[in-house]
């Protein structure tokens, strides 16, 4: 009887190792290339949008009472007389160097603004995704394990509600109920005005900075302000994650190997968590990454309600002020993070799946 598994020689093993390393290098190169191309596309889009804007950027600079010479000089100085390709190349160069132009409203380089506001959004989204995973995954598994029961229906409805409720509306209602009426949470803003400016911003994330400064009172205050927006983001996250987890689990539970586990006499709890759940961990990572990216996007809506000084608020303010540099810069940054997370989870999927390894 010819067993397939004969131990390979040392030479063969080295060959396999070399092959695997080379494939990893190629995969990494492909990863970088895809991100680069996609980002280029994004930059092209923002460049295009910037040109489509009916506002004349030269006029915005010199004002409409300037003479023709001043207008022309400014135009040349801004590089707007060069051919489009050159302008685009300059634009890409600028972007890669972090030069997004100046913001009309803050009169600061957009880059500085973005560095300032990004951590606030990051903190909120990170807490949101933790809530989403910790609650959403067990919810989805439970729904799949009890398919067809009222428990399943409730969880599915929660999943659908996460698709159907406008984030800004939920934020508004949440704030009205939990802050204004019940006084259970802190109000808008990251911290009470009372404490504003007390903590030196090290990372930009309140929870970390307050702990670093050792000020527990302010820490709890920050928590009370963070809890509501993070929970709302968490709700949308858990709805999506639960929905996807349920779908994945249903797929697995209908497979033969689950029957095998039951035939062996394995307790149902282990059948679900040790057998059926294991293969979906990897697709779940993709789902969670996508949800995280989605939360960064969703923060745009929430931050206005909570007066949260994050990138979303920055973007919406810039939109209303027609501050195109700020708008496009924010779009680029959020877009870049989004692209990175998407492609990264793509790659992670292929790397981690044992079935893909051989």
């Amino acid at each position: 009887m010819n067993d397939k598994a004969a131990a390979p020689s040392l030479q063969a093993q080295l060959n396999i190792l070399a092959q695997r390393t080379w494939m990893t290098v190629i995969a990494f190169a492909k990863f970088v290339a895809t991100i680069a191309v996609t980002f280029l596309g994004l930059a092209a889009l923002t460049f295009f949008i910037g040109r489509v804007v009916p506002i004349d950027p030269v006029l915005a600079m010199v004002g409409d009472r300037a003479s023709n010479e001043v207008y022309e000089a400014a135009r040349v100085q801004m590089g707007l007389d060069r051919p489009i390709f050159v302008q685009f190349a300059n634009y890409i160069w600028d972007v890669l160097n972090g030069n997004f132009g100046m913001s009309i409203s803050t009169r600061q380089p957009v880059l500085n603004d973005l560095i300032r506001v990004f951590p606030a959004t990051l903190e909120m989204a990170t807490l949101g995704i933790i809530i989403g995973v910790v609650i959403g995954v067990p919810m989805g598994v439970t729904a799949a394990a009890h398919r067809g029961t009222w428990l399943d229906q409730i969880i599915r409805t929660v999943g659908l509600l996460g698709y159907s409720i406008p984030a800004f509306w939920l934020g508004l209602v949440g704030l009205a109920i939990f802050y204004a009426r019940l006084r259970w949470t802190g109000g808008p803003g990251r911290i009470d005005i009372f404490f504003d400016g007390l903590i030196p911003p090290v990372t930009g994330m309140m929870l970390i900075d307050t702990l670093l400064a050792g000020d527990i009172d302010v820490f709890w205050n920050a928590v009370s302000h963070l809890v509501l927006p993070a929970t709302i983001l968490g709700f949308f996250s858990l709805a999506y994650i639960a929905r996807m987890t349920r779908s994945f689990m249903l797929d697995q539970l209908s497979q033969e190997y689950v029957t095998t586990a039951r035939v062996k006499g394995v307790p149902e709890f282990l059948v679900i968590w040790r057998h059926a759940f294991k293969p979906i961990r990897i697709p779940l990572i993709t789902v969670i990454s996508l949800s995280y990216a989605g939360l960064l996007e969703g923060s745009v809506m929430i931050e206005t309600i909570f007066s949260w000084p994050g990138i979303g608020n920055y973007l919406t303010t810039a939109l209303l002020n027609a501050d195109m540099n700020a708008v496009l810069g924010s779009t680029l940054v959020i877009g870049a993070v989004f692209i990175f997370i998407n492609k990264f989870s793509d790659v992670m999927y292929r790397v981690l799946d044992p079935r893909a390894r051989s």
């Binding site: 009887m1 067993d3 397939k4 598994a5 004969a6 131990a7 497979q255 033969e256 190997y257 029957t259 095998t260 586990a261 039951r262 035939v263 062996k264 006499g265 394995v266 307790p267 149902e268 057998h275 294991k278 293969p279 044992p354 079935r355 051989s358």
Partner: protein
């Protein structure tokens, strides 16, 4: 000597768009420590019978019987918890395709060890020894290496042998083999069946071999049941299969090509009775 299995009037029903359908219609059988073959085409209800014995049929399917008894235990009245101590430890099942019936993200060793651990408390060393011994008994050379492999890294034949090892390692009294060789190459089929046959006879187990292959069943079984559309149409001793009385069985036998075949056309069964329900 008490029979291993006593079934009277077993019915399995599933709801469909056109009303409830009985996929198994009131069959009865008994089994001692012998090898019983159940033959039939797809949809005859043979697999469902096997699953009903293990109480694996979940809602919306419904199982009814006057008697469904294993070694004196009334299966129908057992709770899930009680069934769990029966499954694996007393009744086991080998399924068709190891590509699908083995967990793709757990190593072979872990899966077999689980079969042991679920029913016995042994030390890690004892579990390891037992696993290796079992793998050797299904004629796997190099069992130490196989322990660390994933199911997709072994061939079909070896996968099925691993499945057999996993299902027999807790030493059950009854093995149900549901189309154990249908997914394998013809050259490997006989080997796998030999292994099942040897292990079952040496341990004095009962065997229910479910298949669509009449030849196979007649070679490896003592008695044969022929099922059609949920009912048992023939019951005979394997050696007397050629003397079968029911026209369906005779039709099946006639439809098998012989090595010295001289007929132009193989007979085809005309479906006189119409479709189910």
């Amino acid at each position: 000597m008490r029979n291993l299995l006593n079934i009277d009037n077993l019915t399995v029903t599933f709801p469909t768009n056109n009303g409830p359908v009985d996929v198994v219609k009131g069959i009865s059988l008994s089994l001692g420590r012998e090898r019983l073959g159940i033959v039939g085409e797809s949809g005859s209800g043979k697999s469902m019978t096997g699953r009903a014995i293990l109480k694996l049929i979940r809602s919306p399917g419904k199982v009814k019987a006057d008697r469904l008894e294993f070694d004196g235990i009334d299966i129908l009245s057992q709770s899930e918890r009680q069934m769990r101590s029966i499954r694996g430890a007393r009744i086991s099942m080998v399924m068709q395709d190891p590509k699908f019936s083995l967990n793709p993200v757990m190593t072979v060793g872990t899966q077999i060890a689980e079969a042991i651990k679920t029913h016995q408390k042994l030390s890690a060393q004892e579990i390891n020894d037992k696993t290796l011994a079992m793998l050797k008994s299904v004629r796997i050379e190099n069992p130490e290496r196989v322990l660390g492999l994933y199911p997709h890294e072994v061939s079909g034949g070896m996968g099925q042998r691993i499945m057999i090892a996993m299902m027999l390692v807790p030493e059950p009294d009854l093995l149900i083999a549901d189309e154990p060789t249908s997914a394998l190459d013809v050259s490997v089929q006989a080997q796998v069946l030999d292994i099942i046959d040897n292990l079952v006879t040496s341990k004095g187990m009962g065997l229910i071999l479910i298949s669509h292959d009449l030849n196979l069943v007649s070679s490896y079984c003592d008695r044969i049941l022929v099922m059609r559309a949920g009912e048992i149409v023939e019951e005979c001793v394997a050696s007397e299969l050629h003397a079968a009385k029911h026209p369906y069985t005779q039709g099946l036998l006639a439809a098998m090509p012989k090595i010295d075949e001289d007929r132009e056309w193989l007979p085809v069964f005309e479906d006189m009775s119409g479709s189910q329900t």
